[in-house]
Symmetry: C2
Subunit: 178 residues, 2 copies
């Protein structure tokens, strides 16, 4: 089985992220030996989840470089409503997607992909709250615990985290085991 | 590799648990297919972590049965200060330990093991805050990310969660792959 310890993945963070949707993927990837960075508006800024768990950004959005990272994760909660406003974030997602790199997104994270304009014709799921936004952006939406389409893994909510991360990790292994 | 989907593990919960120390192990074991129950003072009670993440007990302490569970996990935060007061909890831990079943405990969770009287001569770690309590109970304490002694896995704090759960899952696999 492939060892992931040479990979670097970045997880995007902003205020009112869904606490477990940010942290479960971060800790889970660290368990696999992956180097995980949190990227916020500015390095060293502290953000709080919607329930109150703190998270400190390792790097700022200006340091997001598609060459440096093997994958990206976007949590839900209301952080995506903030994240989508930054050109550096949407441009980073667009370039990661062009590079075919594994993108994981859960719950409301789809908003960021909408603004990065990468959903046309893609099969996805999300919290049902943003189904209309996802479909209006050209995605093919379904209410499933996890959906894979090429380099995109999407999931609905915290209860789906076990299968979400199982699939995301499998995608990293397949993609980089060449 | 052994499939864990026939196993049942119980995770103890009470007010002011450390949010990630409760939830990372729960979600992680579910990813492995393990059935995980949360046990609180009463079934269906809602508890909040010290940062505010909610958790609802599936069963009450009166339903804790050592025959039913293959392992037990105890989170840190200040929940252990509550948990150790219940005879049903300490008796359950004592019997799980006598049965040699995998016990995982992190941070302040050592207080529960002290009151269950199962630490004499055992090598453990914990948050340094309770080192004196652990040693006074007869444990051999060290400041390490994770320590294994027979059926006991102990760890210090949230940053240790990746290695803590890697070792706990390995212990479940070894113990039940007979």
């Amino acid at each position: 089985m492939m060892n992931l310890s040479k990979l670097k993945v970045v997880n995007l963070v902003h205020h009112s992220y869904e606490d477990l949707e940010l942290w479960y993927p971060v800790i889970r990837l660290r368990e696999e030996g992956v180097t995980v960075h949190l990227a916020g508006e500015e390095a060293k800024t502290q953000y709080y989840g919607k329930h109150g768990v703190p998270a400190t950004a390792d790097i700022g959005f200006s340091e997001l470089s598609p060459e440096e990272y093997h994958g990206v994760l976007i949590p839900g909660g209301w952080a995506p409503d903030k994240l989508r406003r930054y050109k550096q974030v949407t441009e980073f997602i667009r370039m990661m997607n062009e590079g075919g790199k594994p993108i994981g997104e859960i719950c409301h994270a789809g908003w960021v992909l909408i603004s990065a304009n990468v959903l046309k014709g893609k099969r996805v799921t999300s919290t049902p709250a943003i189904k209309d936004d996802m479909e209006n952006a050209g995605a093919i939406w379904a209410d499933e615990a996890v959906i894979i389409d090429k380099n995109l893994v999407s999931s609905r909510r915290p209860i789906d985290l076990p299968i979400y991360m199982k699939y995301y990790i499998n995608m990293l292994k397949k993609h980089y085991d060449k």
